[in-house]
């Protein structure tokens, strides 16, 4: 379970997030919704530990982010909006890096790499460096890296950005599978249709505050009412 309580974030005296509190249940898929600058990515960065928080606590399965940062991080993986691959590593070495970092068993690692590279059509690119890949391919590599380990929480910033239709559909299925196995997924996207298809819950942000949160079906009804 992810618990975020009373989160406050400021950058140079400017309040970016104010009194953010929410929790995610095991196996749930939650969409962070909001306009540009609403604070979606800042929430992700704060959970990742990249953005310093002024106040509040973040706990993942009882492990406090401030108390035991490495144990906290070992339970989550992240897919950023822009793929950030390491220039010194080939595609396969990126997978090895993630496998090693999350202490994935060798046999399981090989099996997953084979399945994912086949699904995302990267099997012939394993020895390529990032600069030899297109943006979509780099995004696929980044996605596979995050999907390799079994983690409690998957953070995804704009998961379908740069992916072709087939890859986006495959990713949707893979995320549903992950959630069915108990992984909590917190994602942001401007593609509302996909979010409605994928997520069960939503959290709506406005100017760094939670405007409303609940079940996705209620959000759909709400958005229809608003558009009428």
């Amino acid at each position: 379970m992810l618990e975020v309580n009373g989160l406050e974030v400021s950058i140079q005296q400017q309040v970016i997030l104010h009194e953010i509190s929410f929790s995610l249940q095991q196996g749930s898929i939650t969409a962070l919704i909001g306009h540009n600058g609403a604070g979606k990515s800042t929430i992700m960065k704060t959970i990742m530990g990249w953005q310093e928080k002024r106040e509040g606590t973040i706990q993942l399965n009882g492990v406090d982010q401030d108390q035991s940062f490495v144990d906290f991080k070992r339970q989550l993986s992240y897919i950023p909006e822009e793929p950030f691959l390491l220039p010194e590593l080939t595609v396969m070495q990126h997978f090895q890096l993630y496998g090693q970092s999350y202490q994935l068993e060798q046999e399981l690692f090989r099996e997953r790499v084979q399945i994912f590279t086949k699904t995302f059509e990267l099997a012939d690119k394993l020895n390529e460096y990032p600069e030899a890949l297109s943006k979509g391919m780099r995004q696929k590599v980044q996605t596979i890296c995050a999907l390799l380990p079994d983690v409690s929480l998957l953070l995804i910033d704009e998961p379908f950005m740069g992916l072709d239709i087939d890859a986006a559909a495959d990713l949707t299925e893979l995320l549903k599978e992950k959630a069915a196995k108990g992984t909590m997924i917190l994602l942001t996207s401007h593609q509302l249709e996909r979010m409605e298809e994928l997520a069960e819950h939503y959290i709506m942000l406005h100017h760094g505050e939670i405007e409303e949160q609940g079940l996705m079906v209620h959000f759909q009804a709400l958005s229809r009412r608003t558009t009428k």
């Binding site: 990249w50 940062f69 490495v70 991080k73 970092s101």
Partner: protein
């Protein structure tokens, strides 16, 4: 920590492999075997001539031994000043974008920073050790003379790393003020030691060590990671060299973080009347000044450094050094302004 060590080792190995490939491609474009053979021949010849010259100059080098002993504090001061100078351009600890990206995995920046700090210390220690080993082997200086110099150099090189990292993070007028206070303190210390007729060598080392008590808890606060990564990426990958060798002569736009921070103000971000010629001219003048001011700053800080070193030199060398400084000032000022007017 063990996992972080393993990971950094894995990255270093992979980076070395990629760099090898990159350099092979870059060098392969510019060199061929004939040039390589000629270069090796001339390098060997150069080493042979150099060694012969040192052997011939043995008596002269021994005669300078006592003079060198008297300028040890100046050399140490030079190391401190070069650290201040370097802190405008290099953080000293090689955290590239790769190391930073590792923080998205279960690793902490504290561990990564500490390991890379230790690695940077080891690099500096190795460099100083190799230089002094060569001096010991090639020159007639005895071990009793070389060893104290080696110890002081080693300490100074290692103890200036953290201050360099800390000063690198400071921006704008605060940085200038910080450096100015440092210069004034050094000058005051020099005058005090001259009056009291004391050897300042140990005090320099002790002051650097004590500075760590203040800096250590602040080593990871207010860090401009973007700047750190950009400078280190450029250095680690030696992009300038690779671009040059591969024939890519597109000038890289460098961000002058320090200069920008000096002139940053909310007023400059305001919209302006682009039909007012004076305002447009003023904007353009500022733009061109910002581009050149980095060179001016380098020039002024080098001169300041020289002036401070001058204070520590024996009186017989002060006259010559003063002339050198005036000559440098006139030549660089003239060439800079002539160049500036030529291109405009």
């Amino acid at each position: 920590m063990k996992a972080t060590i393993q990971l950094l080792r894995f990255l270093r190995k992979s980076r070395a492999q990629k760099k090898k490939k990159l350099y092979q491609q870059a060098v392969g474009v510019a060199f061929d075997w004939v040039i390589m053979i000629y270069l090796a021949f001339f390098a060997g010849l150069g080493v042979f001539i150099g060694y012969g010259f040192i052997q011939e100059a043995a008596d002269m080098l021994l005669a300078y031994q006592s003079l060198l002993a008297s300028i040890l504090p100046v050399v140490l001061l030079g190391i401190v000043l070069s650290m201040i100078g370097l802190s405008f351009y290099q953080p000293g600890i090689a955290i590239t974008s790769t190391e930073w990206k590792l923080t998205s995995l279960p690793f902490t920046m504290e561990h990564i920073w500490l390991l890379l700090y230790l690695r940077a210390i080891a690099h500096r220690a190795l460099l100083v050790s190799v230089i002094f080993f060569m001096i010991f082997i090639l020159t007639p200086y005895p071990l009793e003379f070389v060893l104290p110099w080696y110890s002081y150099f080693l300490l100074a090189a290692v103890l200036t790393l953290l201050p360099q990292w800390y000063i690198f993070q400071i921006e704008g007028w605060r940085k200038l003020l910080f450096c100015l206070v440092g210069f004034v303190l050094i000058i005051m210390a020099r005058l005090l030691f001259a009056i009291l007729d004391l050897d300042p060598t140990h005090v320099f080392i002790l002051a650097l060590a004590l500075l760590h008590v203040y800096l250590w808890p602040r080593r990871l606060t207010h860090i401009n990671w973007q700047k750190v990564m950009e400078k280190n990426d450029e250095k680690v990958w030696n992009i300038t060299f690779v671009n040059y060798m591969s024939g890519n002569h597109q000038p890289k736009i460098k961000r002058h973080y320090f200069v920008k921070s000096l002139f940053a103000s909310p007023r400059r971000k305001q919209p302006f009347d682009y039909q007012d010629k004076m305002k447009v001219m003023r904007k353009l003048w500022w733009k061109s000044f910002e581009q050149e001011v980095n060179q001016v700053a380098k020039f002024i800080s080098s001169l300041l450094g020289l002036v401070i070193v001058l204070l520590f030199l024996p009186s017989e060398m002060q006259g010559i050094m003063s002339l050198v400084i005036i000559f440098l000032f006139v030549t660089i000022s003239t060439s800079f302004f002539l160049f500036y007017f030529k291109i405009n």
